[in-house]
């Protein structure tokens, strides 16, 4: 049903600000059949397309078992991401994907996990951490190492 190279229309079903320059968008394909056929693995990303403007690669944050919508957390960096930040519930955009290999969650069963992320890169790992917490018996110890920077941002004051 979905071709990875063709953007399909998706609708914003939820949006929230995370920080002054970060926000999350919950998206759902407007065609229920496309939504039903859509699958992804944790660690994969989608291309979010704004017609006439361009597209950006954005990691998927939600649980792969959540079949009704797909969640993205985005930092405003350029023209596309800033305009994605202006979308409201009901607005539409293009979505194609998923891309990337995803994390080897099955291969890692029975072993200890070390999840290392930096900055907003932690966003997609949240789904992995929750996935492990819900299947605690399958994995050993879980270490989470998160790098952050605390810049003084006068533009955000």
């Amino acid at each position: 049903m979905t071709s990875a190279l063709v953007p399909f229309e998706a609708e914003v079903v939820g949006c929230r600000d995370e920080t002054p320059d970060m926000f999350s968008l919950q998206l759902r394909f407007t065609d229920p059949e496309v939504q039903a056929a859509y699958r992804f693995a944790m660690g994969q990303f989608n291309m979010l397309c704004l017609p006439g403007m361009g597209e950006v690669p954005i990691s998927i944050v939600s649980d792969p078992d959540e079949r009704e919508m797909v969640d993205h957390t985005i930092r405003k960096v350029g023209s596309v991401t800033r305009n994605l930040g202006r979308l409201e519930v009901g607005d539409r955009l293009g979505l194609r994907g998923p891309y990337g290999r995803g994390w080897p969650t099955e291969e890692a069963e029975g072993t200890d996990l070390v999840i290392v992320t930096g900055g907003l890169g932690c966003a997609p790992s949240v789904s992995l951490i929750e996935y492990v917490l819900h299947r605690r018996g399958r994995y050993g110890r879980m270490h989470i190492i998160q790098g952050v920077k605390h810049l003084q941002r006068p533009d955000l004051a």
């Binding site: 190279l5 953007p7 291309m47 397309c49 704004l50 017609p51 006439g52 403007m53 361009g54 597209e55 950006v56 690669p57 930092r75 960096v77 350029g78 023209s79 596309v80 991401t81 293009g94």
Partner: protein, 208 residues
């Protein structure tokens, strides 16, 4: 399917079921013993003509170890990053996606075009061109073609056609570059390409 050109036509050999299926649909005559001998002689001649070769040993491992080799920096003064090599390479497949807005602003067309890793925009992401320097882009191309391609697809990305050498306007030769990279760096290496700081355009995303 293998095609061997003779003066009076081609000798066609199918080496797969798919090739055989195509061959079965063609109007052919059985190749004579003499023609098959000509094919063999032609292959022998081609092998004798090919005097050049890649460095000994595993090229992917060599490239992995040479990621900071000072030789990359010499590309800065030679490579024009024109992308000719990627345009003529039979295995290059990189693409770019563009959104074109109509003049009245009412419709927009999303299209896929040929791309090249020598284009600065190829590595533009999150407000930064990751491979801003020429040597970084050449390194990306060469290490993918001869190194990481093997990991991805189980075979080299180079078919040995030599087109990238023939069409390079400044005469860069992949065989020579790989040979130089396979040698130990000099004692006083110039700065490696990775040490340059990335450029940071102020307001660009996706569209050149």
């Amino acid at each position: 399917m293998a095609l061997s050109e003779l003066d009076d036509g081609f000798v066609v050999e199918a080496h797969t079921q798919e090739g055989q299926a195509i061959l079965d649909t063609l109007e052919t005559t059985l190749a004579s013993h003499d023609q098959l001998e000509q094919v063999e002689a032609g292959i022998e001649r081609a092998i004798r003509q090919q005097a050049r070769s890649l460095p000994d040993g595993s090229v992917p491992e060599m490239l992995q170890a040479a990621v900071d080799h000072p030789h990359w920096q010499s590309l800065n003064d030679r490579c024009l990053t024109c992308g000719n090599c990627t345009a003529v390479c039979p295995t290059c497949f990189c693409q770019t996606h563009v959104d074109e807005l109509s003049l009245d602003g009412k419709t927009s067309e999303h299209g896929r075009q040929w791309g090249s890793c020598f284009d600065p925009d190829h590595s533009y992401i999150h407000g930064t061109i990751i491979r801003a320097e020429r040597p970084q882009r050449y390194r990306q191309w060469l290490t993918h073609k001869f190194g990481t391609w093997v990991e991805q697809y189980g075979r080299s990305g180079c078919v040995g056609c030599g087109r990238c050498i023939a069409w390079c306007p400044v005469g860069i030769d992949v065989i020579e570059e790989l040979a130089a990279l396979s040698m130990a760096p000099d004692d006083a290496p110039p700065k490696a390409p990775g040490s340059a700081s990335p450029s940071r355009p102020t307001d660009r995303e996706d569209t050149p």
